[in-house]
Amino acid sequence: MRLAILDRGHSLGTKLLFAVIGAMTRQPVPELIKLLRYRPDFFGDPMKVVTHEAMRGPSAWSVADRELMAAVVSRVNACEFCIGAHTATSTRAYGDAGKVAAVLADPANAPVEQPLRATLAMLAKLTREQAVDAGDMRAVLAAGASPRQVEDALAVAFAFNVINRLADSFAFAVPGPKALDSAAKFLLARGYR
């Protein structure tokens, strides 16, 4: 963690909470949680509302699909912390490790339905190039995604283009496999609130 305040600048109540979480999970508190709990009124609390709605609000995309979008965006941003967390979460949500691995290895030939494959390609371009144009959107719509599905996918990309940048700017420690699995279970049970 690059800023000491994010490691140990929290209020006494939050420090106690972290001690309880650490004792219960027998894992270090994820550094994203440390960020969200530091001066939470400034960023953590309002960001959690956006992220929970994008990832768990009512949508024609499944939770697994949205976790896969989060993994793909994170992959383009090369954010190791988030790639690990959302690969684990989408894998658990689909109940299919091979599918997620195949999408991340070769997105153009991803073994998913055409609307999702086209949407993932658009999100990857948006993340890589910072913009997309009407032609890119027409391709996604022609592949069968509805405008509402596109909007929902853009909400996911917004949330993770924020979190990816912060994870790397503040140098979050990348959790090990056991911690990632616990995080995936937690995110599927409780969401992002």
Binding site: A4, R39, F43, V50, P58, T127, S169, A171
Partner: protein, 102 residues
């Protein structure tokens, strides 16, 4: 469909218009991607476009120029949310153009 209109507006309003340890104008500039003085400018450019390349030295240089950790916390977050907002608005405009006339 999911609805992040109100929650995204609340996030932005808190970051750029609310109280903080940095002046509002500086947070607004960080959010908007405007140029800022000193080593902060290079740091926030990396946050926006190459966050994996941010180094301890970038943060140390910004601190040496007089910024506190709380100020860096605010400005890095404003830059990250601002860049994601630029992307998001580009994509929503593209979608509106693609569906115009439907």
């Amino acid at each position: 469909m999911t609805d992040i209109v109100a929650s995204r507006a609340a996030l932005t309003a808190r970051l750029v218009d609310g109280d903080g340890t940095t002046p509002r104008e500086q947070r607004q500039a960080a959010f908007a991607g405007a140029r800022l003085a000193g080593p902060l400018d290079a740091l926030l450019d990396k946050v926006r476009l190459a966050a994996t390349r941010v180094t301890d030295a970038d943060v140390a240089a910004a601190k040496a120029a007089g910024l506190s950790e709380d100020q860096l916390f605010e400005l890095v977050i404003a830059a990250a949310v601002g860049q994601a907002t630029t992307q998001y608005e580009s994509a929503r405009a593209a979608l509106a153009a693609a569906t115009a006339g439907d």
